[in-house]
């Protein structure tokens, strides 16, 4: 395929002179490679085409990773710079100095307070999230594959999506009282509709030919779900997890503000009560750091591991 587009840039009138020139420059190497593959195939018809795949260069990979990290660091530095600039225009009670705020962060972390509070909040998010996932994945797949279930569950799921997280939090606390259950339930109920919708829509877009293939090879229902359907939903699930985590954090902080005696939300309220912006920001920052670790560390790692079968999209390469 590649060889066709390279060899006849004339056919493609839309190409500018410049790209045509680039294509021409690339032509000889591509041709040579293809020819070599062809020659090899003539000699050994059964074990061929291997030579057409060039080894991956490790160096290019490392440089690309460094570039990615560099950009991320630059983005964070830019945000700090804006913060620092703002301290010139506002009193410290409203915009505390970054350095003071970070020393507050250091204090929170060094006393160990951070770990107990963050642990409580993380547990609430984690349990609520797990409950929502356990219900959403099967329900989403069923809604995407069984028409009657789709019709039946569509209204409640759509309605659930429009309900604000704050309302769920209030309702769950009224229902279960001020305890862990209400926090778990509020998180689960808030993110459940969003998770279900993305899995349901994802299931509807899976490749039906692959289902036929698995039927032709007598795959059982479990194998169809695990080997054929779920892998096609991976990117939908990961996107839903990312978005869902964002929602879950917001709800759990609200629940904690209502009268829990620990958790990040409670600490933020305490900061508010003594009108200490420094304390509010310090807790918010620790929170953000944990988010970033989860987002880039855990989910990013998970994604690259699960989708290593997929060649990278290089749409803007010239």
């Amino acid at each position: 395929m590649k060889i066709v587009t390279c060899a006849s840039p004339i056919n493609n009138a839309a190409f500018t002179m410049l790209t045509a020139k680039i294509e021409h420059n690339r032509l000889p190497t591509v041709m040579a490679r293809e020819e070599k593959a062809l020659a090899a195939s003539v000699q050994a018809p059964l074990a061929t085409e291997g030579s057409a795949i060039p080894a991956r260069s490790k160096m290019g990979h490392g440089r690309e990773a460094a570039w990615t990290t560099g950009l991320r660091i630059a983005s964070i530095l830019a945000m700090l710079l804006v913060w620092w600039a703002l301290t010139f225009f506002f009193p410290p009670s409203l915009i505390p100095h970054p350095i003071e705020t970070f020393s507050e962060v250091a204090a929170i972390v060094s006393t160990g307070q951070f770990f107990t509070e963050m642990g409580a909040t993380l547990r609430r998010v984690g349990v609520g999230f797990a409950i929502a996932m356990l219900v959403s994945i099967p329900l989403g797949i069923l809604m995407g594959t069984v028409k009657s279930l789709e019709n039946f569950f569509e209204p409640p799921v759509i309605l659930g999506l429009t309900m604000p997280g704050l309302v769920w939090a209030v309702m769950m606390i009224m229902f279960f009282g001020l305890n862990e259950t209400s926090a778990y339930a509020a998180v689960a109920v808030t993110i459940f509709p969003m998770l279900t919708i993305s899995l349901w829509q994802g299931t509807k877009s899976i490749d039906k030919d692959l289902i036929d293939m698995s039927t032709a090879f007598h795959a059982g229902p479990w194998s169809k779900v695990v080997d054929v359907i779920l892998p096609q939903l991976v990117s939908h699930i990961l996107a839903a997890i990312r978005y869902g985590l964002g929602l879950a954090w917001k709800v759990v902080v609200v629940v904690e503000m209502f009268g829990f005696s620990n958790g990040v939300g409670y600490q933020v309220v305490r900061g508010f009560n003594v009108f200490s912006m420094k304390q509010v920001l310090a807790w918010a920052i620790t929170f953000l750091v944990v988010m970033i670790i989860i987002e880039f560390g855990m989910i990013g790692w998970l994604e690259s591991r699960i989708t290593r079968w997929r060649p990278r999209v290089e749409a803007w390469r010239r």
Partner: protein
Amino acid sequence: MAYVQVENAVKYFSREDGTDMLVLDRVSFDTKEFGITCLLGPSGCGKSTLLNAISGLERLDQGRVEVISNHGSAPSHSPRLGYVFQDPRLLHWKSVEENLTFALKGMSIPHAEWSDRLRKYLEIVGLSEFRNQFPLYLSGGMRQRVGLARGLVIEPEVLLMDEPFSKLDQLTARRLREETLRICEHLKQSTVLVTHDVEEAAYMGDRIIILCARPAGIVDILENPLPPGARDVDDLQFIAFKKRLLQSVLKLMEKDEVPS
């Protein structure tokens, strides 16, 4: 050894407006016990529907399809069919080897036989060194070979192939045709190959069944005068046979175009 017997196959598809369209009109034929039976017909004539009916993916409205095994099969025994699709239909998130074990698992092949079979059939299609590769890192021709190996690894009683070479470039298709012919000859199983390509039918088919379009019905059944080893696309005898096939197909297409 086994072969497929199709008797009075009738199939309707429902159109959007609720009316029915006759796709298969009382089709009956037997496939060869050894070697390749080609279903040759124009595009959209219901060849693939017929193949899906044989595989059980599609249910017939009338008539029956039976896979007849010679070695005293119990009535409950469901025949083992291998399917090679037009697009290879691989699971892209599984390696080449895992794509084959997916079929082995589905067909309940005892676990103890897996490694021997994987080695044997990956060797046959020439992909031994790529067994841990993911399909999207392979070329189109190699992916199609994985599809072929997956059809073969379950050691099917009948191998079904639905235009397996039509999406490949000419050179790759030609080479794969040669290899597939050699593999089928070597494994001596009943194979059904659907194609719209007259040369492919003449080259691959030991028996060629010509179907007409909408509804599909059998127009002609021809036996290939040349044994698999003697088929050479440049040979005069081969060209003569190809011509005969082509004339049959063209004649029926002309009939098709006459407004009724």
